[in-house]
Amino acid sequence: MLDDDALIMRRVQAGDLERFAVLIRRYQRPLFRAALERLGERTWAEDVVQEAFLAAFAGRTTYDPSFSFRTWLWTILINLCKKQWKRRASRPAQQSWSELIAREGDAAPEPHSDATGLSCLLKTEQIERVRGLLAELPEEQADALRLRFFGELTFPEIAAALGCSLNTAKSRVRYGLEKIGRALRTEEG
């Protein structure tokens, strides 16, 4: 039996292209969260997420609805993040004006209408803390944690997205959580 995502993709494959917007709306935030954690820059993460949706849309005819769309999409994002990271690492640091402007915006995010400035700052601090802790992990463990807690993927889906066995996927999550847990214990003293 096909899940909702697969049914939507079937309709997209049949020509109802507008239905793809439902999937964008559904997955954009968790993908962005993971990409931001992975890449560290907002505009870069937004671009990568957009590229992931573009790739999924362009490859819609090759998608098999009997497989999990969610896993497929997350696999695309993980691979794009890796590729982008390697590409930027091999090039000298360059920034466009729009990136500089966006960077300034990142430092002080606009609060939500119901949120106070303090809660926003606390939230930002928490996010930065998570980002820092994940950055200290080996890449595969950090990706596994992002897929588990941001993507809410099951362990079989994580294994499929990362191209590893089920036991390896569980081990990566386990060891990643152990390291973050020990780091938090050390911080608390």
Binding site: A21, I24, F53, P109, C120, T124, F149, I180, L184
Partner: protein, 245 residues
């Protein structure tokens, strides 16, 4: 009584529960297991603050760290798709021209090759340098279903007909266009050739009877041409075989 409420968890289930974003509600099963399992207790102590921190780092409205509106992403996807369609449509005519020319050449070459291959296969059983007896025995081993009904038709004339049909795209006898790409000549020329040797004609066929190169089946052998389809001894190479043996 609900047995689920009093079930015993194993360590794997505890691990799954502790690493779930939306763990299923338990009724004391977790506490009971942790009370009796020191390794899971240690795991829970390490995992719980880490999981709490990771879950707090999930994107929400309060953080202000929201991505660009999803409508913008969809717009970008749509624009990219439209651009790809435009590029494809723009380049399609020249590609079609080239590909149709190439396809025509490939088709002709394939048809000629098919004809040669069929001719060679047929030649092994009679017309090209082998004895009629041997040809007849080979004939019995023929497995092509289209040729089964034409066991008596294997001869030079048929081979030539097939070659003509393959080369020109029409049956040289009835001049009907070849309908099937896979077995083009066989389908049509079987019908023509069966009629020519006096076997039961295809009632659906409306073509003229065969003559070589053109004519009536009641024509004399001389008028029919250099050889008769029904007489294997008249085949090219048959006389040489007979004199050699």
């Amino acid at each position: 009584m609900n047995h689920e409420l009093n079930r015993e968890l194993n360590c794997e289930q505890v691990f799954q529960h502790l690493t779930s974003v939306h763990p299923a509600p338990l009724n004391g099963e977790l506490d009971r297991h942790l009370a009796g399992c020191s390794s899971c207790r240690e795991m829970a102590d390490l995992f719980q603050p880490a999981v709490a921190l990771l879950e707090s780092g999930r994107c929400d409205e309060v953080s202000g760290d929201a991505p660009r509106p999803w409508e913008q992403v969809w717009e970008a996807v749509s624009v990219a798709q439209r651009a790809a369609d435009q590029l494809r449509d723009h380049s399609a005519p020249s590609r079609r021209r080239v590909s149709s020319r190439t396809a025509a050449l490939v088709r002709s070459a394939a048809l000629i090759l098919a004809g040669v291959l069929v001719g060679a296969a047929l030649g092994r059983v009679g017309a090209f340098g082998r004895s009629p007896d041997l040809a007849r025995s080979d004939r019995d081993q023929w497995t092509n279903p289209l040729m089964e009904n034409a066991a008596d038709c294997r001869c030079e004339g048929l081979v030539t007909f097939l070659r003509d049909a393959v080369a020109h795209g029409t049956c040289p006898t009835c001049e009907q266009p070849i309908a099937s790409r896979k077995q083009p000549a066989l389908t049509l020329c079987m019908a023509c050739h069966r009629e020519s040797i006096g076997t039961r004609p295809d009632p659906a066929s409306s073509h003229e009877s065969l003559s070589w190169p053109r004519g009536n089946k009641n024509d004399s052998a001389k008028e029919r041409g250099p050889f008769s389809f029904a007489d294997p001894k008249q085949l090219p190479g048959a006389r040489e075989q007979a004199s050699a043996s």
